[in-house]
């Protein structure tokens, strides 16, 4: 281990100056806290459930500029994606995650749509991926990296399309994280909490969308996902 490491840790310990008795208690404290992560205060608006939770999520997501469309079932994904591209006058071309939900959507069967799976490139106008949770507290999406879900899909293209099963909407960030905890490979390399499209206030006087990330965030809330 490096000299700097030893020095910094020694300086910290000298300043904290815990006695030997306090030291044992401190070690036990830290082990306990790390061994059993527990939620701190969760605001009431994060403690909602059922249809109220979905309604709050939708309202909050719209408030931050996410376009939200609720679909009756996975079979509606394909027409909804096409309609969204047409509505925004976007090129009929997208790159998507190899997520089972999107594999089953049958986008490739669409004659006028060019679909590729994998990592987006500079020229790709639209990315389509799947979120693992929606957080009603602030209308936030939780995305996580995986072999079949490249992170860049939701960051590089100018338009980001995201599919979220309605059943994955929860009240709080803590609940959303709890859905990840303990899965194989947990925690994923990259967990992205996304609240609306990319924005900047750095060039006055207005807030502009699409600073670096997507200019447009379109969310498909899908009911009846098995």
């Amino acid at each position: 281990m490096s000299e700097a490491r030893t020095a910094v840790l020694a300086r910290i310990r000298a300043q904290l100056a815990r006695g030997s008795e306090a030291e044992a208690a401190a070690v036990a404290d830290v082990a306990a806290r790390l061994g059993r992560p527990t939620a701190n205060l969760v605001p009431a608006r994060g403690r909602v459930a059922g249809e109220a939770c979905v309604a709050q999520f939708e309202a909050m997501a719209r408030k931050v500029g996410t376009e939200v469309e609720r679909l009756a079932g996975p079979e509606a994904i394909r027409p909804a994606v096409l309609a969204a591209l047409r509505r925004h006058n976007l090129p009929m071309r997208l790159v998507r995650a190899a997520d089972p939900l999107l594999e089953a959507a049958g986008l490739e069967a669409e004659p006028l749509l060019e679909v590729r799976t994998g990592v987006p490139e500079e020229a790709d106008p639209t990315g389509l991926t799947v979120a693992l949770a929606g957080i009603a507290e602030t209308g936030t999406l939780l995305l996580a990296s995986a072999a079949e879900r490249p992170t860049l899909l939701a960051f590089l293209p100018e338009t980001s399309l995201v599919v979220l099963p309605t059943e994955a909407i929860v009240g709080s960030y803590e609940e959303a994280w709890a859905r990840l905890r303990g899965r194989p490979g947990w925690p994923p390399r990259s967990v992205n909490l996304i609240t609306g499209p990319s924005r900047t206030g750095d060039i006055p006087p207005s807030i502009e969308l699409g600073a670096h990330g997507p200019k447009r965030l379109i969310l498909f809330l899908v009911d009846r996902v098995a």
Partner: protein
């Protein structure tokens, strides 16, 4: 960066006369200051969350060594490489060697105050690297060759016209008029930079001991492209950023954006745990983290420990009457506003920054809005005392304070002196009831009249009301 804080008075005077700064500061008041008030009012638990945040940070700081070790273990298990740095020079050298080993030519960077603190950009540039800031505000001030004037909005002092000129000069073409066109232009230019870069440098808002993750927060999504596109991700942050669990980070995140800009949550909050995994198709091949001390550890044992709770939201400056009059550049170093007045003396030495803790009316608004309840006025007072002990203030100020101190410790003499002064001023100003000019009080009378005292001193009136009892 060489601190210019001793010139605060001159720089402040210049700034106050600058209408561009006045307009920018007004924007802060109607934007972020009001935004924070609205966001706090919309969340009934806001103050209770602040208490919880204080408890989390206090706990983390009093176990800092243990949490850093736990973090380091997890971070390494996930394939991250950790580098400890005692000071700025060590951190810069590590960053350069990582870039050199990667054979880097271009480095993209998302906003990092720690990188500003150690002067990373000029150092890497002097070593032949091209460094490109990607946060739009940082990019603008990089083009202008300036330093941030605000913790969250580094270019808050700039007008759109100035930005348009800078862009036209750097990118070619005629200056654009609309914000949207300027943002689109920057997007296009910086897009190329992300793809060319060999190393992406980010800061970290939090480190999570439980998982070995680092957390970045942006609204633009530039951190994700900065670390997600190049081969190497280098994060740099201070040792005080570690918190125990993901849940603890969520509590702090609930406060961060609300306190900073009035948003309920920032656009992008990302938890990163290690480099690209074998089965993955994107992500950096290597992830490095520089953990910087630079004097932070020495703050743990004394009054300054509370400052280590700071989550860099900027609420203190958005609410500071002095900052809102002078803007950030008057402070003369990297950290500005009330938090800067506490941190700058710590980092550059009180002898080079004793002016800053004096740049406060002690109105207390900074402490009132601080999400982690840092007693900023108390900490500024600590530095004032230290400056006085070391005899740093000019002789006239010291003599004045000395005289006042001498009188204040002798109540009888004090009453006599104030009575005499009140009687004299009262007699002299009887005709007009006010003074347009007063010797030794030009700072007051320069912009308003000084009222002539009428009748008894406060102490005498008090005594009279209480029936002769003091």
């Amino acid at each position: 960066m060489e601190p210019q804080s001793l010139a605060f008075r001159t720089r402040a005077r210049r700034a106050i006369a600058d209408p561009v700064i006045a307009t920018a500061m007004q924007r802060l008041e109607t934007g972020w200051q009001l935004g924070r008030a609205r966001a706090a009012a919309a969340l009934p638990e806001f103050d209770a969350l602040r208490d919880a945040a204080v408890a989390i940070k206090n706990h983390a700081l009093s176990h800092l060594d243990l949490y850093l070790e736990a973090f380091e273990r997890r971070f390494a298990e996930r394939g991250g490489v950790i580098h400890w740095a005692r000071d700025a020079a060590e951190a810069r050298a590590i960053a350069l060697s990582i870039c050199r080993e990667a054979g880097a030519k271009t480095v993209t960077k998302s906003k990092s105050m720690v990188a500003e603190e150690i002067g990373l950009n000029p150092f890497l540039e002097a070593s032949g690297l091209q460094v490109v800031e990607t946060d739009l505000g940082e990019y603008v001030i990089q083009l202008a060759g300036e330093v941030p004037s605000h913790l969250v909005g580094p270019a808050v002092h700039m007008t759109r016209e100035r930005i348009a000129e800078l862009f036209a000069k750097a990118h070619g073409g005629p200056p654009k008029q609309e914000s949207a066109a300027l943002v689109a232009e920057a997007r296009q230019v910086l897009r190329r930079r992300y793809l060319e870069a060999d190393v992406g440098i980010t800061g970290a808002n939090f480190l999570i001991a439980e998982t070995g993750s680092i957390v970045t927060v942006t609204n633009e999504g530039n951190a994700e492209l900065t670390q997600g596109l190049p081969r190497i991700h280098l994060a740099i942050t201070g040792i005080e950023k570690v918190v125990p669990t993901v849940e603890d980070a969520f509590t702090l995140l609930r406060l961060l954006a609300r306190s900073a800009t009035g948003q309920e949550f920032a656009g992008y909050t990302t938890f990163l745990t290690g480099p690209k995994r074998p089965e993955e198709r994107d992500g950096p091949q290597a992830m490095h983290l520089i953990l910087l001390d630079n004097g932070r550890s020495s703050m743990l044992g004394g009054a300054m420990r509370e400052m280590l709770r700071c989550i860099r939201c900027g609420a203190c400056m958005n609410h500071c009457p002095v900052y809102l009059a002078t803007g950030g550049h008057a402070y003369g170093w990297v950290y500005v506003g009330p938090m800067g007045s506490v941190l700058t003396p710590q980092f550059v030495g009180i002898d080079k920054a004793w002016t800053l803790p004096n740049a406060s009316t002690f109105c207390g608004r900074c402490e009132e809005v601080c999400p982690v309840r840092i007693p900023l006025p108390k900490l500024m007072r600590h530095w004032r005392e230290e400056a006085h002990r070391r005899g740093l203030a000019p002789p006239t100020a010291r003599a004045g304070l000395g005289l006042w101190g001498f009188l204040a410790r002798r109540p009888r003499l004090y009453r006599l002196a104030t009575r005499a002064a009140a009687a004299l001023l009262g007699a002299l100003g009887r005709r007009r009831g006010r003074f347009g000019r007063l010797p030794l009080a030009a700072g007051w009378t320069g912009s308003r009249d000084f009222p002539a005292p009428e009748g008894q001193t406060f102490a005498a009136q008090w005594r009279a009301r209480r029936g002769g009892r003091p």
